[in-house]
């Protein structure tokens, strides 16, 4: 009997602790607006990342195909520098440099965060796309070229539509990574989900409730996305044997 009562007391205590920390003064609303910022940053950064990544991947693949083109060699060289810098430095440092050095006169921190995470993600998306393009059978390129299509026509009409299938699932994973990485946006005074939870922690002196709630919100989003990717992959696998 004693144990049951102890458990009951624990949960009642938890309930009132939750009420005190999250509901009083509408503090939960801070989490909602923080979540909103987190999603905005992740979503637009992914858009930028995909745009940059597509360009970089195509440059790198085309540069291998026509090694004689001087323009492609130059672009390829620049792309390699970009990828090495981005992948070789921590994303927090990149964010701080963007905020305190590059965009020092820009006051919109959200914009700076989107650009930083977008540039960061671009390097990883580029590698995802490059791998997806290279996974398409070489015979497909040869067939396109032997029909007289140019390199870029072959890429557009034959290779990319097939590469998409390899790319999409990995791209969703990149979005998951990005979503979690945005939790460092607090470094540049952005009220994202993590920062909001942290602010509740130091206004209420209750670290347990807000941080666990924040973690659960991330977890639910990531599990949801993972489930969607699973569905996606099964659909794509099915269309292979049509």
């Amino acid at each position: 009997m004693f144990i049951l009562e102890a458990i009951r007391d624990f949960f009642v205590g938890l309930g009132s602790q939750f009420y005190q920390t999250m509901i009083v003064d509408d503090r939960w609303k801070m989490l909602i607006s923080g979540l909103q910022n987190t999603l905005i940053i992740a979503f637009f950064a992914l858009l930028i990342g995909v745009a940059i990544g597509t360009f970089v991947a195509i440059v790198k693949v085309m540069a291998v195909m026509n090694s004689k083109s001087k323009l492609l060699r130059l672009l390829n060289w620049l792309c390699n520098i970009y990828i090495n810098i981005i992948r070789g430095t921590p994303v927090v440092v990149q964010l701080l440099i963007m905020y305190f050095v590059v965009f020092v006169s820009v006051t919109n921190a959200l914009f700076i965060a989107i650009v930083s995470f977008g540039l960061n993600s671009g390097a990883y998306v580029a590698e995802i796309m490059r791998a997806g393009i290279l996974a398409v059978d070489k015979g497909q390129t040869e067939a396109g070229r032997s029909l007289g299509l140019s390199g870029s026509q072959t890429m557009k009409a034959i290779i990319l539509p097939q590469a998409i299938k390899n790319i999409l699932p990995a791209l969703c994973n990149e979005f998951i990574t990005l979503l979690k990485e945005t939790s460092i946006a607090g470094y540049v005074a952005i009220q994202d989900l993590t920062k909001a939870g942290d602010r509740i922690r130091f206004t209420t002196y209750d670290p347990f409730t807000p941080l666990i709630v924040v973690a659960l919100i991330y977890l639910v989003m990531v599990l949801g996305l993972t489930w969607i990717i699973g569905k996606f992959e099964r659909r794509l696998a099915k269309s292979d044997n049509r």
Binding site: G139, Q140, R145, S146, G148, L149, Q162
Partner: protein, 240 residues
């Protein structure tokens, strides 16, 4: 029609083609045979510049297609190529597979290309597959479609790179029938194959390659009945 002068191709240290000189006339059906690794496919792929020669020249009619800056796409539009592994586009249906290149290159409108595709499909008795996707076809059907896809560009030369090597034995016949019919229509063709019966029947000239060189060539009858080079006699004794 096609002149090859002192053609050499190296992949790193591997000297695949050695000083090949060859002249192919319009309407000829040249069949290239030889052991694997002898350079047959590389030679064929050099002719439409899928491989860039290390040295030497290839002339198509009065154009040197190996000179620096020559637009390889131009020559490829006039030469069809059929691959061992078909290389149909899996994401496009048969009709789109056939019409993609002529429409994209603005040689035909979509309507003209569709009409021509249907006519060609009827020729290989696959018109009912127009809306199917490649993965639903048998190997033999895929290869017949691949031939049709090349013909849709109205080529003057057809290159066949072991067109029946990836097929189940019972499907070889249907593909060879299509190639034979094409030969009878007067198409200039260069065929790399291991089908000796077909080589003898359809070829107007047979080349045997070994270690990057053409070591013997003759008309089909003489080639098989009076081989001279000891390597040719040895090769024929193995495959016949």
């Amino acid at each position: 029609m096609i002149t090859v002068k002192k053609l050499n191709k190296k992949f790193g240290d591997n000297h695949v083609l050695r000083d090949i000189d060859e002249f192919i006339e319009k309407g000829e059906k040249v069949v290239i045979i030889g052991p694997s690794g002898s350079g047959k496919s590389t030679f064929l792929r050099s002719i439409n510049l899928l491989e860039t020669p290390t040295s030497g020249e290839i002339w198509y009619e009065d154009e040197c297609i190996t000179k620096p800056g020559y637009d390889a796409d131009r020559i490829r539009r006039r030469m069809g190529m059929v691959f061992q592994h078909f290389n149909l586009f899996p994401h496009l249906n048969i009709m789109k597979n056939i019409t993609l290149a002529p429409v994209m290159l603005k040689i035909m409108t979509q309507d003209e290309a569709d009409e021509r595709a249907l006519r060609l499909l009827r020729r290989v008795s696959l018109q009912e597959k127009a809306d199917a996707y490649p993965s639903s076809l048998s190997g033999g059907q895929k290869q017949r479609i691949a031939i049709v896809r090349s013909l849709a560009m109205n080529p003057q030369v057809m290159l066949f790179d072991e067109p029946t090597s990836a097929l189940d034995p019972e499907m070889v016949g249907e593909v060879l029938d299509v190639i034979r019919e094409l030969a009878e229509d007067g198409m200039t063709m260069i065929v790399v194959t291991h089908e000796m019966g077909f080589a003898r029947e359809v070829g107007t000239r047979i080349l045997l390659m070994d270690e990057g060189r053409i070591i013997e060539q003759n008309s089909p009858d003489r080639f098989f009945t009076e081989p001279k080079h000891p390597r040719v006699i040895e090769f024929l004794s193995k495959v016949l």
